[in-house]
């Protein structure tokens, strides 16, 4: 089986809310793909659709070319961590993994193996209800690894982890990708993925905003970014908006313009008689690039069309 996830044109509506609006991307093996976007962007819904838990109104999601529900012993194809709290509190960690293992034709030896892999061998006989969030995340990872799957999908795996846990998780995810697995990790914070992901799928409002490598994203975002300082902000935005540029307001008198070189900006402003005090190009951090993609800029771009 190919270790890939293909998401193609997913559309899903929850009542009045359009949760997925043509979500499409592909996750390739051998790298960590960050699945990033603000809360409510459709990350978890996309993952649930991929895993056959939610049904999409349109489009399809395939794992190694097949829908999840057609997989035999699915946990040997995909490992997923959706909600670390999904535990019967009175069941021990080992027994939690044991029923899961037997459902896939695996046995107790494999359970002990994954407990060791996530460093929980000593906690196996303890009731899962007493675990800290960090322990639950580890147990969730253990469950995802149970079937030794070529594809892994983790929804906010570092959420609530202490710094030590975050470092452990990063190393762990990198190691799993290094073994040739396709690893999809979602987060609503780019900073969490900064040192982990090779590739990014940035989503907002149910669709993909950017599907790019981390390096390309920074380069692209930086190249296009120009800081414009002007007292006549609204006029400047109005005239620049007609050119199709993307804008973000960072201060009352400061606009960050992307998608338009600085000389064109100066020309447009001059041609329309808009005063300005400073135009400067600059390089952005990944976090900023992400904010530009998912923050107010999304709204402005939408409004400019």
């Amino acid at each position: 089986m190919q270790a890939t996830i293909e998401v193609n044109g997913l559309r899903k509506r929850f009542g009045q809310t359009l949760a997925l609006d043509g979500m499409s991307f592909t996750v390739l093996p051998g790298q960590v793909t960050g699945f990033v976007g603000p809360n409510g962007a459709g990350k978890s819904t996309t993952m649930r659709v991929i895993l056959g838990l939610d049904a999409a109104d349109e489009g399809h999601a395939l794992i190694g070319g097949r829908p999840y529900t057609s997989l035999r012993n699915p946990l040997t194809h995909v490992g997923a961590l959706l909600d670390a709290g999904a535990l019967q509190p009175s069941r021990t960690a080992r027994n939690h993994l044991l029923w899961l293992a037997h459902s896939q034709g695996l046995d107790g030896r494999r359970v002990d193996g994954v407990l060791e892999q996530v460093g929980m061998q000593s906690a196996g006989r303890r009731k899962a209800g007493g675990f800290s969030l960090g322990m639950r995340q580890r147990l969730g990872i253990a469950a995802a690894l149970l079937g030794d799957p070529p594809v892994l999908m983790l929804d906010e795996p570092v959420n609530g982890l202490d710094p030590e846990g975050i470092v452990w998780m990063r190393g762990f995810l990198r190691a799993l990708a290094g073994e040739g697995r396709a690893v999809l990790v979602s987060s609503h914070l780019m900073s969490e993925l900064e040192d982990t992901a090779d590739h990014l799928v940035v989503v907002g409002k149910g669709r993909v905003i950017a599907d790019t490598s981390v390096a390309d994203l920074i380069t692209t975002a930086s190249r296009g970014q120009v800081t414009l300082r002007t007292a006549a902000r609204s006029e400047a935005m109005s005239v620049l908006g007609h050119t199709g540029a993307t804008m973000a307001v960072t201060d009352p008198d400061t606009i960050v313009v992307s998608g338009l070189p600085s000389e064109r900006i100066v020309a447009v402003l001059n041609a329309n008689g808009v005063p300005f005090s400073e135009v400067a190009t600059h390089r952005v951090t990944l976090e900023q690039a992400y904010m530009d993609l998912t923050g107010d800029a999304v709204e402005y771009r939408g409004a400019a069309r």
């Binding site: 649930r48 699915p74 999904a86 509190p89 009175s90 939690h96 029923w99 459902s103 896939q104 034709g105």
Partner: protein, 525 residues
Amino acid sequence: MSAISQRSAHRSEPQAGREGFGRLLRAEWIKFRTVRGWVVAMTAAALVTVLLGLMSASSNHGSCSSGPVEVACPPPLVGPGGEAVDDKFYFVHRPLAGDGSITARLTSMTGQIRKPDVTPGQRNVVPGVVPWAKAGVMIKESTKQGSAYAAMMMTGEHGVRMQHNFTHDVAGRPGGVSRQSPRWLRLTRAGDTLTGYESADGTNWTQIGTATLAGLPQTVQIGMFATSPGDLTVTQGDLGGSIAASRFTEATGEFDQVTLQGNASGAWRDDDIGVSIAPDGSEHHPGRASQSDGAFSVTGVGDIAPTIEGPTAERPLSSALTGLILVIVVAVMFITTEYRHGLIRLTLLAGPRRGRMLTAKALALGLVTFAAALPATAITFTIGGRILRDNGNAVLPVSLLTQVRIVVGMAALFALAAVLALALGTLLRRSVAAVITAIAVIVVPHVLATTSVLPDSAARWLLRVTPAAGFATQQSIPEYAHVLGHYAPIAGFYPLPPLAGLAVLAGYTALALGLAVFQLRRRDA
């Protein structure tokens, strides 16, 4: 494409499916056994059923009076089929050696019925015969109560019948009897086979039925008999329920033109078979007979029929209701905790084919429940029954097959109720709502129907249309068409046969599980 490869491809598919189902089943079993609370509660359900059942049996004492003293009740009289029987009638008989027959013309059937007293203390006896008063000809193994027999008879309201060995009844021509339209009755013996005939004129005979009485001795008793069961009155209780009362009756048959064939050369003898003895040692409501010019008048009190009243074998199993409530709680929690903790998503990741997953869960729960309930019902039934008998209760005996049906059927009821509760838990996703619903549809109808709350008709209706119909599986004494009785749930009689009742419960369970699968498939998890 060779045929062989096609066939092997076909075969591998279902095997893979079975394997997958087996894995899900195993996973659900592990889920169950690894939550200590559920194991404890399921064990407690079994123990509560046993303990409450044995306690109720222990507190149930029976005694009978023998003259002025109280003694333990004798074991009930049983017929050739092993069931408890009444065998009380007046018999005018002769010995018959080998094959032969009796023919008699019945010219009248009359009787008396004691009605409720109008003036207190003053007997209110009116002429009349009760529907199943009997008078006719009989061949019986011996005069011993409970021995094998076959008889051709006229009844109070059910025309001519041929009956044998208490539980068998075949209808002849309906109608009554009078001097103007007498009824001729004939019974012949050929080896073990007895054949009954009737005729309106003594010339043209119609065969009504045959009975094979295996092991009938060479010499049997042949003659005329009369008997009359108590007059049954059922009154509705003030708060629902009903009260049944039975009052003295007697029936008299007038016979003439009596002819015997075969070696029946002895003299006529009169026997009041099974007559009651009053505390002072005298016969209570004795029968009588007289004879003049070849005409006989026979008057009898009693009945020749299976017993339908008395302590029943299933009595200790009333405790099952309490155990069942515990089982329902565990069964509901088995799925609702998955919803509460979001675990259902992990379950569906492991088994994405939802119908199959829920079926595996239901089967695992059903098997666990059955395994816990079977020893509980078996112990409660057998030990409880023994305690009842040791306490002097004349428990109505039932066949081994019936005992097995009751014990296994009640365990099946537990299992089906558990699966029904699981399905309700899946549909409602809330523990409290599902537990209340399950108890409301399984336990409450049975409680309402078997306590003095509802009229008999409403009680019967409840036990016909609700899942509580399954409790019919514990009924040990069947309803007999030829015995007038108070066949109401309050007296332990269910409106549906045992397996039909269980089938109603199974139908509800299948329906609820089907709806649960449908909704589980339709809903996002």
